[in-house]
């Protein structure tokens, strides 16, 4: 019987981790659909940024209540993984509480896992209340209808169940140890300390050893199978941030927020235009057999974006802090930086599936621009960087907005008319207004 359960466990583990590895490979493949961008410079600063923002949760605590609760869940998640390690070893080798040889240290470990499990449970319940009872505005905007809303709640239910199972497992185990059950009890005394699950003991009072074993085993199995399922749920969920927050903060922009990237392709053309020796009417050098694809300026679809922007999209956990800080969104405009990220991810999934199915991208008559993100959203941005500042995991929605504006401006000449007039003024007289450049110093002589 024992060996059967060991085999079943190994099979579940292999499948769980195997599927997870497959999803991660797919994720990397999709992210690599983005254009190349070099973000390998300044590794020390990048590590520091990751340590501060992802590991240290420095931006989460800007909103103290959500920040503290999130730290409970985050620390709980990381620390309780040590317990998962023990569960995996026990599962494979048929042992029970393999780490218990640590003695007092083990008691402290299990005790702290229990306290953390309770804190996670409290955190998750409060999160659920904030979403579903208090109905915080940022969780109820347009882009949060349907799957995004359900996804968020599923994650919370899942964590509630996992933590409850963990405590039930410990409680039943504790009772079995008290009763001196074979395989559970140890002559050295009680293994582990149970500051939280001890309060569950009255529930188990009077139950037979065999019933308790069923409860303990059921909780143990459901807990670990639940974790394996959750691992594979990540790819389909906003919860992917628990992994991607780390690379995302590492590869985040280090330059001042106000600095927008320089478009190299444009620089080359501008240099050519400014070069007095260049012949504007010269025919482009014919290269036999090699048809050069003309450079496309800006972005109209996901493969025009760079891989960091695509990584950003997968990292977004849809918390909506960006949108709640956005001046356009706060004043009722359609723009929501969160929606920009969600749309980018949805479209990337669609393009990725298209490529998997057809071996290469087959035109589906859709693109990120217009089919997902409208020009009305793009033109409402004030480029104030509030969204970038607000993001707790270093996402830059502004860079996507700018790249899409570049496409509208340079490929389609599709800017709002007043803006086009200003552009014309800059071009003709060096100011966004129709004043003559020769009048630039008139102010000095005016009273």
């Amino acid at each position: 019987m024992q060996i059967v359960s060991q085999i079943l466990f190994v099979v579940a583990l292999v499948f769980g981790i195997g599927f997870f590895a497959r999803n991660i490979k797919k994720l990397i493949r999709y992210i690599k659909l983005g254009k190349d961008i070099d973000r390998t410079d300044q590794p020390n600063e990048r590590f520091a940024n990751m340590a501060r923002v992802a590991l240290g949760q420095s931006k989460m605590v800007k909103r103290p209540i959500a920040g503290m609760l999130h730290i409970f869940v985050y620390v709980g998640f990381i620390i309780i993984n040590i317990e998962v390690l023990e569960i995996i070893i026990d599962g494979i080798f048929g042992t029970h509480r393999i780490f218990s040889f640590l003695g007092t240290a083990y008691d402290i470990l299990i005790g702290s896992f229990e306290v953390l499990a309770l804190l996670v449970l409290i955190g998750v319940i409060v999160f659920w209340i904030r979403r579903n009872i208090i109905k915080l505005k940022r969780f109820w905007s347009n882009e949060m209808k349907g799957w995004p809303k359900d996804d968020a709640n599923y994650i919370l239910y899942f964590e509630m169940v996992l933590m409850s199972l963990f405590l039930i497992m410990n409680g039943a185990d504790h009772q079995l140890q008290i009763l001196g059950a074979h395989h559970y009890a140890n002559e050295a005394g009680i293994m582990g300390s149970f500051p939280i699950s001890q309060f569950l003991l009255p529930l188990f009072d009077g139950l037979s050893i065999s019933t308790l074993i069923i409860i303990e085993r059921a909780a143990w199995w459901l807990h670990i199978l639940g974790i394996l399922f959750f691992l594979n749920y990540l790819y389909y969920s906003k919860h992917l941030h628990i992994l991607l927050a780390f690379p995302n903060t590492y590869y985040a922009k280090l330059k001042p927020k106000g600095e927008l990237d320089n478009l190299e392709a444009v620089t080359n053309e501008v240099k050519l235009m400014m070069d007095p020796n260049a012949d504007p009417f010269a025919a482009p050098e014919a290269t036999e057999g090699e048809e050069e694809v003309p450079e496309k300026f800006g972005a109209s679809d996901v493969h025009d974006l760079n891989w960091v922007q695509l990584l950003n999209a997968y990292t977004c956990t849809e918390c909506g802090r960006c949108t709640s800080e956005c001046p356009a969104n706060q004043t009722g405009k359609k723009l929501s930086p969160r929606k920009i990220m969600m749309d980018t991810r949805d479209r990337l999934e669609e393009v990725g599936k298209n490529i998997e199915k057809n071996k290469e991208f087959k035109d589906d008559g859709k693109q990120l621009l217009n089919d997902y993100i409208t020009t009305e959203e793009l033109w409402a941005c004030t480029t104030c960087n509030a969204c970038v500042e607000a993001c707790p995991v270093g996402i830059d929605p502004l860079s996507i907005i700018i790249d899409m504006r570049r496409y509208l401006m340079m490929e389609q000449s599709a800017a709002p008319n007043e803006l086009n007039i200003s552009m014309g003024n800059i071009e003709n007289n060096g100011a966004p207004w129709p004043y003559n450049q020769m009048d630039r110093l008139n102010w000095a002589n005016e009273n």
């Binding site: 330059k255 001042p256 927020k257 106000g258 600095e259 927008l260 444009v266 620089t267 501008v270 240099k271 400014m274 300026f297 800006g298 800080e325 001046p327 356009a328 706060q330 004043t331 009722g332 405009k333 359609k334 033109w379 409402a380 941005c381 004030t382 480029t383 104030c384 960087n385 509030a386 970038v388 500042e389 607000a390 700018i402 504006r405 570049r406 496409y407 509208l408 401006m409 340079m410 800017a415 007043e418 803006l419 007039i421 200003s422 552009m423 800059i426 071009e427 060096g430 100011a431 966004p432 207004w433 450049q437 009048d439 630039r440 110093l441 102010w443 000095a444 002589n445 005016e446 009273n447």
Partner: protein, 263 residues
């Protein structure tokens, strides 16, 4: 304004074979907008008072290209940038000061990659350095004890992490500095950035400058201090929209210092 202050150009300096200490980049708003011209003049007075040898480009100055870049017109931006850089490098400019955070951000951050490398300062940073060096003395004057709130320009604050220089100047004026609910890193935009100054806003239920003005009014200020000509326009319009123009003034920090000094 009693007497006109001499505003030398780079061309004049060049003709005399001299170089000024700093180039004052006036910007489009500072050159043409009636409200912003007052800021330009106030700043020039302070420069003169501190004995700073400065020059302007005058008719050789052109838009930095900021609105073009942020609207997505990278071509126009780079044409502007390359032309300006040619002029600036021709005069061997090393240090630039400007009263516009948009010009400040663009020249400081986006010109280097196109061959323009200068030490660029926002006018509040420059005034602060004059104060620190003892070249300019600022006393409370008429603003002493008045309730003042400072509106952070996005392109000085979040974009370039400068929150303290303008506030230090206000403290020197011995004002009662009150912060808005949303300030510094979390400051709300005035609504003008990213090309919005030059177009109608998209459909919504409020204008951004009204929301920001409401936040400013919550602090019950006598003056809303600004550090950007565009913010200044937006907040001035906001105050008018709230029918508070009799009670609340919108002033640039440089104007306040010049005013306090009775320049």
């Amino acid at each position: 304004m009693a007497e006109a202050i001499k505003v030398p150009t780079m061309a004049e300096y060049m003709a005399e074979g001299k170089k000024p200490e700093v180039l004052f980049w006036v910007g489009c708003a500072g050159s043409f907008d009636d409200r912003a011209k007052k800021i330009t003049k106030a700043f020039v007075k302070l420069l003169s008072k501190a004995g700073v040898e400065f020059a302007v480009l005058g008719t050789e100055e052109s838009c930095t290209g900021d609105p073009a870049k942020r609207s997505g017109n990278e071509f126009l931006f780079q044409m502007q940038a390359v032309t300006n850089i040619e002029v600036l490098n021709g005069y061997e400019i090393e240090k630039i000061v400007t009263a516009c955070p948009h010009c400040f951000n663009t020249i400081k951050n986006e010109y280097p990659e196109l061959g323009g490398n200068y030490q660029v300062m926002h006018h509040t940073q420059f005034l602060k350095s004059l104060l620190d060096e003892g070249r300019l003395k600022v006393e409370g004057g008429k603003f002493k004890g008045k309730r003042i709130t400072f509106h952070d320009p996005c392109y000085l604050g979040r974009a370039n992490n400068e929150y303290e220089a303008p506030r230090d100047l206000l403290r020197k004026l011995e004002v009662e500095l009150v912060e808005m609910r949303k300030c510094k890193k979390n400051g709300l935009c005035c609504g003008a950035g990213g090309g919005q100054m030059f177009k109608e806003p998209e459909k919504g239920n409020k204008d951004v400058n009204i929301l920001r003005t409401e936040q400013a009014i919550e602090t019950q200020p006598e003056v809303i201090a600004a550090g950007c000509p565009f913010c200044n326009t937006m907040m001035t319009d906001g105050v008018k929209g709230k029918n508070k123009e009799g009670q609340i003034e919108v002033m640039d920090v440089a104007e306040m210092i010049a005013d306090a000094e009775d320049l």
